[in-house]
Subunit: 210 residues, 2 copies
């Protein structure tokens, strides 16, 4: 899935400039450090994140972090961009998967997916009173998911004029249930509620003749 | 609605001790200051809250705030408790209201209700990686809403064995749509999704013979 919204362009120089071997190695190493820093944020959240803590957790020097990311704000911005792109994203899900929403739910509630959803919930909470650019990035991420699900619903026979509204309701339901699950930890009740939501949807799909 | 979970007891001395006139005035004044501090938090969020900023916004001295609340942590805890108790709470909603969920949605999306929901989303985001007591307070607030809606569903004919699951799904849907509305501001799409959710519920209620 392409994250169309570039909160902060990853490579301000642009990809069109001449890329030599040294730059390629630099970019490669930069990506590795960002990945490791993101794993740290997935464990700890972003609230108490400092460059020193990240450097220690990732196993690089403070100077290396500053070299790659300039500032904590920029590092956080890139972590957020990565997490928004990855949460609920299942790029390897085949177009003709027989049961895509249950598969998305299954992955999102597994250990790795749940870490992403947790940080997504924390980022969303920060976006409410935070930097308007953060809210814009979260909104863009929501918009992408809504469009994807709307497209899927049309394939199941949902009238195109209704698809975005039903997708909004469906994604809203999943989002709300994720929050419940993360806060209460009550897998059984929340899982049953998801199953209830999907059964209702299956009833509608039958009605659409899909 | 009674907030059964007392995150920090408001009056550690307890209400059973002898209360004289001076103490009553003190408690009255304390409540007023807490209300004003909560209004400040509803506008600004909790992230950058300091006793000095609150004192300035509320129009009391820093010493008065410390006198009433001891510390920023304690003031924030009491603001959180108040906001959790008030969000989506409509104590004046008559038991026999013909359309309670649309009424709750209407109030929650109005200016005053939306301020509460906004801070609730921010608090939920903080709870994910924050103090476990905060997550417990949010979980307790969710649990109360789920029970209330489950009780309402039973009155509409929902089998008691299904009521908590359907209530979880319904409340999850509303929670997720609130987040969408606050982040994207797209009242029309999100309002239509809520209407879609409620129409589906009405179909189920008809099926229950309620």
């Amino acid at each position: 899935m392409v994250n169309q919204f570039r909160w902060i362009a990853l490579y301000p120089g642009g990809m069109s400039e001449r890329v030599d071997g040294r730059k390629l190695r630099y970019m490669h190493r930069r990506g590795e450090v960002l990945r490791a820093a993101t794993e740290h944020a997935l464990d700890q959240g972003l609230d108490d994140l400092t460059l020193r803590k990240v450097a220690q957790a990732v196993g690089v020097s403070h100077a290396t972090l500053v070299h790659h990311f300039d500032s904590k704000e920029r590092l956080v911005a890139e972590i957020v961009e990565l997490v928004l792109a990855e949460t609920l994203s299942v790029p390897d899900l085949p177009q003709d998967h027989p049961d895509p929403l249950r598969e998305i739910w299954r992955r999102a509630t597994e250990e790795s997916g749940r870490r992403h959803v947790k940080l997504f919930v924390a980022i969303t909470g920060q976006a409410v009173f935070g930097d308007p650019m953060l809210a814009k990035a979260v909104a863009s991420s929501m918009e992408q998911r809504t469009s994807l699900i709307a497209e899927g619903l049309v394939q199941y026979g949902c009238p195109r004029s209704r698809a975005r509204v039903v997708a909004t309701s469906l994604l809203g339901g999943m989002r709300g249930l994720f929050v419940d699950l993360i806060i209460t930890g009550e897998q059984e009740r929340v899982g049953a509620a998801f199953e209830d939501m999907i059964s209702e949807l299956e009833g509608r799909i039958a009605g659409w003749g899909g």
